[in-house]
């Protein structure tokens, strides 16, 4: 059977599963549409949240980022998991107790203000729409590589599948498909990793293999990796970083941003009890950790594999002749994600760090004329089974897994967008008298609209898509997270303080990002070049979310203290979200 047929079977079977679930889990009421009826088991919700959260970026890109950056890119591992500690203790259980349907719901009620609700809706939509573009393009890439269709056709197929279960099933359909998608993606991620870990370290558990021994040389794996990359002029894989302040702030921004993402927060509205929301956050992190503990192992082993492929006799000997390159390099060359340019015309593939001045004399002595191989970080996970010579069915599995990761996150984001439109804009602000049936119809129509918008943007991605994902984290960290936290932990912060704080956090973050990346990301409009020398105190634009959050907190407190206290019933509301007692009744509003 051809590889194409196998891929088709795996991806097709996973789609049949998702559609089957969609038919079984149709939403009959707005409560089912927005929060899956509020009766999801905490472990099930943990699995669904893990799939909701782990996007194409986690599945496809993260291991590649770590492979390229080594220790310095551990920020992604800590930042994208540490946020769950904040979510579990500072937000999720109290918002579950509040017992309504959306994140702007809480901000609008707690700060008794239409302006605050609208600000929250605005932040939510900017953040979720930018995120969803990445998922659609990610699904498109996976389709085009594995199913021999164009990327555009891939995006249409992805949109059609999400449409089926999200429009009819709402949160209920999404929850159970996300559980299935989690299983598909974690199996797809783990199996090749186990094989590779066995081949390289002899240990079947990749996280142990990472700190284990490299079979071929008998040296510890990380020591061996440091040695071979050093011989090619790269930084040691485990080398420490100089700019610790930026590393701390970037990690903190990712953590706060994660905790402030509405599509993740609303998943915790689906569990039956407040105590369940606490457990569920723990289960979520366990399910995420299965992938996040595997990723750094995959990263180091794939990096070593790549060097060994290019330098079969070791990095001090001759590089691989282009004519002898393995099959997988040829396949990926066709996609343009691997490129080779014979700069010194010797027919061999030299890969080294040509930006390292200290290494230049060595390179010259070896007759090298610049690095010749460009490998896109994103192919690492997708190409892994081919690099390790694994059987064709593993490749089919990876295809289904990558698509599952993109679809599950896209569906969660689309639900956050559509519920903000149908519940916060239509039901609460435009037409409070709308019937249950009318709101349900509005929810389905907004969902369909959101999918059409996401498809359009996926087909015509703005040039700045990659940077915009960082913007989404910055906005979540600087605007929504502080407002939600102060709404729970302070009785003194009032409507004016919250709105001023959110706007101050949002605007300061946008200004800092736009200063270096261009106004609205239009190239050439940036006022300062995006280089570490220009950054204020060495803080990169991607790390600014944490500072935006501090500005938000400070402004909100200052303005609140200068103005009147919130009314008594609001202070009572804060008291009530702080204790679990009496949560059941609140949901049926």
């Amino acid at each position: 059977m051809s590889q194409f047929a196998i891929n088709l079977i795996f991806v097709g079977a996973s789609f049949v599963l998702y559609i089957g679930i969609a038919i079984w889990a149709r939403a009959g009421s707005t409560k089912e549409f927005y929060v899956a009826g509020g009766g999801v088991n905490p472990i099930t919700n943990g699995m669904a949240t893990a799939a909701d959260w782990m996007s194409a970026a986690s599945f496809i890109s993260m291991a590649g980022l770590i492979a390229a950056g080594g220790y310095a890119n551990s920020t992604f591992l800590m930042g994208w998991t540490g946020g769950y500690v904040l979510l579990a203790m500072l937000l999720a259980p109290y918002l579950r107790k509040f017992g309504k349907f959306t994140v702007p719901d809480f901000i609008g009620d707690r700060f008794y203000s239409r302006g605050a609700r609208l600000t929250a809706v605005l932040c939510l939509i900017i953040m979720s729409v930018t995120y969803v573009i990445g998922q659609m393009t990610g699904a498109g890439v996976a389709f085009s590589r594995f199913l021999e269709v164009s990327s555009a056709a891939g995006i249409w197929i992805a949109a059609a599948i999400v449409f089926l279960y999200a429009v009819f099933g709402g949160m209920k359909g999404i929850t159970y498909t996300q559980v299935a998608q989690y299983v598909v993606l974690i199996v797809a991620y783990t199996i090749p990793a186990v094989f590779i870990s066995l081949q390289i370290t002899g240990n079947p558990l990749p996280p142990l293999g990472l700190f284990g021994t490299h079979l071929e040389s008998g040296m510890p794996l990380l020591e061996k990796l440091d040695e071979v990359v050093r011989e090619l002029g790269f930084r040691d894989y485990t080398a420490d970083v100089d700019n610790k302040l930026n590393m701390v702030l970037f990690t903190l921004s990712l953590m706060i941003g994660t905790a402030g993402l509405p599509h993740v927060i609303i998943r915790f509205f689906t569990v039956p009890k407040v105590a369940d929301a606490r457990w569920s956050a723990g289960w979520t992190l366990i399910f995420i950790a299965l992938l996040y503990l595997t990723a750094p192992a995959v990263a180091s082993m794939a990096r070593l594999n790549l060097v060994n492929t290019i330098y079969p006799e070791g990095p001090t000997a001759d590089a691989l002749a282009y004519a002898d390159r393995p099959e997988w390099i040829k396949t990926w060359e066709e996609t343009g994600l691997i490129r080779w340019e014979d700069k010194n015309n010797d027919g061999r593939i030299q890969m080294y760090n040509d930006a390292n001045a200290a290494y230049a004399p060595t390179a010259e002595a070896r007759g090298w004329n610049g690095n010749e191989l460009t490998v896109n970080n994103d192919i690492l996970v997708l190409a892994n089974p081919e690099i390790a010579n694994l059987p064709p069915w593993v490749i089919g599995l990876i295809a289904a897994g990558g698509i599952a990761a993109a679809l599950s996150t896209a569906a969660g984001l689309l639900l956050a967008i559509s519920s903000a439109v149908s519940h916060d804009l239509i039901k609460t602000i435009i037409n409070p008298n709308i019937s249950e049936k009318g709101e349900m119809m509005a929810a389905r129509i907004s969902m369909a609209g959101a999918i059409v918008l996401a498809t359009y943007l996926g087909l015509n991605p703005p040039g700045f898509a990659a940077q915009v994902v960082a913007l989404a984290f910055g906005i979540a960290a600087a605007s929504l997270f502080p407002a939600l936290m102060m709404g729970i932990f302070s009785k003194r912060v009032n409507d004016k303080g919250a709105i001023a704080g959110m706007l101050a956090g949002l605007i300061s973050t946008l200004v800092y990002i736009f200063t270096y990346l261009g106004w609205l990301f239009i190239p050439g409009t940036n006022m300062l070049a995006n280089t570490p020398d220009n950054w204020l105190f060495g803080v990169s634009p991607l790390s600014f979310g944490a500072i935006g959050a501090v500005i938000n907190f400070a402004v909100a407190y200052a303005v609140s203290l200068a103005t009147e206290e919130p009314p008594q019933e609001i202070q009572d509301l804060v008291e009530s979200v702080r204790t679990p007692k009496g949560a059941g009744a609140a949901l049926d509003h």
Partner: protein, 86 residues
């Protein structure tokens, strides 16, 4: 009613204390051991590298899981002690 209020305030204080300690551990393993204190821990070898690297790529994630489960277990107990559970 006054008792209820006092009870709720005491429960909240206990919760905030628990959160504070949990966040101290959270910050210590990630910002501390994995980043700022890594040079100090450089002498402790772990599988071909040092303890700080281990915390950056595995230790902090494992600790985060432990923190959340410990918090959920302790707070669910406090819920019952203060009689505020659902």
């Amino acid at each position: 009613m006054a008792d209820d209020k006092q009870n709720a305030a005491a429960y909240w204080k206990a919760n905030v204390r628990l959160i504070t300690w949990s966040l101290v551990v959270w910050a210590l393993v990630s910002y501390g051991f994995a980043i700022l204190l890594r040079p100090m821990l450089a002498g402790i070898p772990v599988g071909g590298t040092d303890l700080g690297f281990w915390f950056a790529q595995q230790g902090s994630i494992l600790t985060f899981i432990a923190i959340i489960f410990h918090y959920a277990w302790r707070l669910n107990k406090l819920d019952k002690e203060f009689g505020v559970e659902e």
